[in-house]
Every structure is written in C-alpha cells, then in structure tokens.
C-alpha cells in the first residue's frame, strides 16, 4: 500500500511538472544576462540545475526501459502512449 502511494505521489510530481526543489534554486533577475548570445532568459548554470532535477526525478520515478523501447520512443517509431503502457514490462529488453 505504501509503495503504491509513493508511486502515485511520484507520478503526480512528474505529470504536474512540479519542481522537485521548490524555489530554493530560483534564479535572480541579474543572472539571466550572463549566458548571452544563446537562448535568452537562460542563466549560466541552468543546465546543471536542470540535470540535477532530471536526475532526482528519474531516481524517484524509477521506471526503466530497455534499449529497444527507448530507441523506439526517441526515434518516433513507437507512439508515446504505447510506450507508457509498455514501459513496465520492457525492462528485460535491455541489451
């Protein structure tokens, strides 16, 4: 029961795009000017912040895919909804 609850909570966080780390990593206005010349409004270091959040989200959700399904999704060969349904049973397809 606890596990189901945890999974539901993790799913809610993912689906609602809620930031994992609330406001503690918000950027100040002045930092947005540092990363000039490319994709305005993204401060220097945003990649690190995004990477940290992605890593934590992945650790929390804990749904792994095998290579075949991952490639099918990234290549657009497999429709996303199909991938979502089959993700649980696909971990054994990894090479």
């Amino acid at each position: 029961m606890k596990r189901v609850f945890m999974v539901l909570m993790a799913l809610s966080v993912m689906l609602l795009s809620t930031p994992v780390c609330a406001n503690d990593e918000a950027f100040s206005e002045c930092e947005y000017g540092v990363n000039d010349g490319y994709e305005k409004c993204k401060p220097l270091g945003h990649g690190s912040s995004k990477a940290s959040n992605s890593a934590i989200s992945a650790s929390m959700v804990g749904w792994g895919l095998g290579l075949a399904i991952a490639i099918a999704i990234v290549a657009g060969v497999l429709h996303q909804s199909i991938a979502t349904h089959s993700s649980d049973g696909s971990s054994s397809t990894g090479t």
């Binding site: 934590i56 992945a58 650790s59 804990g62």
Partner: protein, 238 residues
C-alpha cells in the same frame, strides 16, 4: 567519406552542438522514458526498477559561450546556495579537464547526494550528473566516476563509429530526406512522420543501428539515433 562530409556540412551548422558526445553507462542500468527529457538532457539512466529511490545518471549539454569554468563554478555556487555545495577537484577525460562537484540536499526521500562532472568543450558544458540517497553513496560513487571518465566527443557521428557501413547508410537517409524536403511543402515534422519516409528510410535505418551496430554500445546507439533525428529536423534544406 568526402561526399558525405560535404552533404553533412550544412547539417552540422544547424545541429544543437557541432560534435557528438557519448558516455559508457554502468552495466545493466536502464534508460528512462526519453519523451520526458527536458531540453538539453541527452540521456538518463537508472540503476533499478525495483527501488523507491534508485541511483540515476544523466548526460546534459548546456551552451555556455565563452564562459570560463571559474564563471560557471560561481554560477553554480549561487544556484546551490541553499544546499551543501562543494567543489571536489578535477580529473582528465579524453574530452578535456573535468570538474567534479558534490551537492547534498534534502527532500521528501531524505538526504540526497548529487555528484556532477562538468567539462567545458567548444562553448558547451557537458554535464554528467549522478543522484542517489546519501546513505548509498559509497556503494555507487566508483560506478559514477567510471562513467564520468568515459566521456568522449567526436566531430561527427561518423568519426565516433568504427563500422564503415554507417557512412553509406547515413548518406542514403540524408539524400532521401533532402529530396523529400525539396519536393514537398509540408513542414519537417509532417515529412519526417510521413509513412513514406518512415517506411522507406527511417525505420530501416533505426533497425540497422539497433541490430548492426550493437558493438558501439547501447548509449551510442540511442544517442546516435537521437542526434541524427534532431539534426534532420533542424536542417534547413535551402
């Protein structure tokens, strides 16, 4: 090779980064759903399906222009000012000097440790990030360091692959794609997902990479397909 280089030259101008990056993930780790990746995130692996908070590893790329590692570190200090942020030191990879950082933070799962290896390369920050529970850090930190050290970049996909057959296969796909773009008024997304391109070019090419280039490693296979797809979709055929 020369003809393909000429064909691909304009492609590289529109690619997100003008090089190809790959890592060797820990053995047995699984991919996560790539449709959920944020912009800039290349690949995410997790250790296990069976744990509530499982160790993960990501490869992310950020454009940093002329920023130095000192400037980047200063930015990180500000970003992680509410966490326990430490610069651990440096080590060398084939791509260049890599800087290692450790970030400890608390969330609903308890104390979490993030290990981040950052390499500045040709105006981009190549960011490898490992995340795990702090209490499990000692079990996985060597695994993370091994993957971090495996980072390598090549000027193109072709130079990253030992199998010469890729050149010919990629040439066919690129030629067909360019022809399709020049003869149709549809947008690139529609052309790419059209049954004609999918069935005659893309699906056979994906199958080729998946089945014939297994020796390059699963991370390479995944990133190669992602990179080629992104490059085709961002290409300006004119």
């Amino acid at each position: 090779m020369r003809w393909l280089a000429i064909l691909l030259l304009p492609l590289s101008l529109f690619a997100r980064e003008p090089f190809f990056t790959v890592i060797d993930p820990p053995k047995g780790w699984l991919f996560t759903d790539p449709s959920k990746y944020d912009d800039g995130v290349k690949v995410v692996f997790i250790a296990s399906n069976k744990k509530l908070f499982t160790p993960s590893l990501t490869l992310t790329v950020e454009y940093v222009g002329n920023a130095s590692i000192a400037q980047y570190t200063k930015a990180l200090e500000k970003i992680y000012q509410r966490d326990d942020f430490q610069e651990l030191g440096t080590f060398k990879t084939s791509t260049g000097m890599t800087h290692l950082f450790q970030i400890d933070k608390e969330n609903q799962w308890g104390a979490i440790r993030i290990l981040q290896a950052i390499t500045l390369y040709e105006g981009f920050a190549l960011i490898q990030t490992g995340s795990c529970l702090k209490k499990e850090f000692l079990e996985v930190h060597e695994t993370y360091l091994k993957s971090f050290r495996s980072l390598r970049t090549t000027p193109s996909i072709l130079t990253s692959c030992a199998n010469n057959s890729l050149e010919k296969r990629l040439e066919e796909v690129v030629k067909s794609w360019r022809k399709l773009c020049l003869t149709s008024k549809d947008d690139k997304e529609s052309l790419f997902t059209s049954s004609f391109f999918q069935n005659t070019q893309w699906k056979p090419f994906v199958n080729y990479i998946q089945n014939e280039l297994e020796s390059e490693g699963k991370c390479w296979q995944f990133l190669a397909i992602k990179h080629i797809q992104e490059t085709l979709l961002s290409e300006n055929p004119l």
